[in-house]
Amino acid sequence: MIQGVQIDMLSAERLSKMTSYEKIRLILDDVRQGSVVVLEKGLTPEEQGKLLETTMMEINPGTFSGIEIETYPSSGSDKGFITKLFGKKSNVPRLMVIGPVDQLKMLSREKDRLIAWASAAQ
């Protein structure tokens, strides 16, 4: 097999049918095997908090050092129509990328563009 990184891309529709627990489990199981996960629709703040706590419980010095997680930095700078209309934007981010911290590096982070570098597991 060719050397590389497996990328698991989940559609918003697929995600909408999953429970929070299922999403977090799938993400961590994938990432711990060295895959990168791309979510078409990001996790809610509550789910992100749960993902963080679960990640912390599963970090094991030497074998799993945690996750890299990124989304378009929409918070704050996003003053769109909805924001004006309701005075508050949705807290669910757009696309979200999650990967093993020793394999996924964020190179740049702009409002509508993320550039990441993924390397194969050692």
């Binding site: 992100q48 918070s75 700078s77």
Partner: protein, 208 residues
């Protein structure tokens, strides 16, 4: 949302509400403990906990009760909780770069993971307001900051963003202001004690 704290405050006075518990959050090394120590020392002459250039020096939340914040004619009694820095990754090799032995570095990494989980737990259950501390020389758009502010907003907790370390030449507090225009941002140096009066005024206003 604006009226809510006032109403709570009104009933609080009526029923002898507990003091507001203000959590100091932010990524590792932003200067949370330095700031907590400064606030507590200004008021009581004591310290909250040790400060270090090595990340994850604070691995347990530390609480100081009944800290009186004075600003002009207003007095506000709060509890200050200094929390472990929140991150999505902890690599023990980083600690070894500071000259730590492997065993010690691994032990610190294990404690740090528990510390992050503890900080999240406090945020979920026991915190009434947040001071979110950022190092002005770093990129404020790091996902962990966007995520934490998102969680704080989802829990409808009042928040002050602190742009810390403005004494450093490459500090860019303006970047923090443009990253979080929806929240009050106070530029300080916790180390040098610059602009603390403005922070105390904001604390009195936001956590009342």
């Amino acid at each position: 949302m604006v009226a809510f704290p006032r109403i709570r405050n009104f009933f609080g006075k009526l029923f002898g509400k507990k003091r507001s518990r203000v959590g100091i959050y932010g990524p590792p090394n932003a200067g949370k403990t330095t700031l907590a120590n400064r606030i507590v020392r200004d008021v009581t002459g004591e310290a909250v906990g040790p400060v270090s250039e090595i990340p994850h020096e604070t691995r347990r939340a530390r609480r100081k009760e009944g800290v009186e914040i004075n600003s002009g004619s207003t007095k506000l009694l709060i509890d200050i909780v200094d929390t472990p820095g929140v991150t999505t990754k902890i690599d023990y090799h980083e600690f070894m770069e500071y000259g730590m032995e492997q065993d010690e570095a691994i032990a610190r990494a294990r404690e740090a993971t528990e510390g992050v989980a503890e900080a999240m737990h406090w945020l979920r259950e026991d915190i009434d307001g947040v001071i979110y501390v950022l190092d002005s020389t770093q990129d404020p758009f790091m996902h962990v900051n966007i995520m934490m502010v998102g969680i704080i907003e989802a829990r409808k907790l009042p928040v002050i963003i602190v742009a810390n370390k403005i004494d450093l030449p490459d500090a860019a507090p303006q970047r923090i202001k443009s990253a979080f225009p929806q929240h009050p941002v106070v530029e300080i140096s916790g180390l040098e004690g610059h602009n603390m009066d403005e922070l105390y005024a904001k604390i009195s206003e936001v956590f009342r």
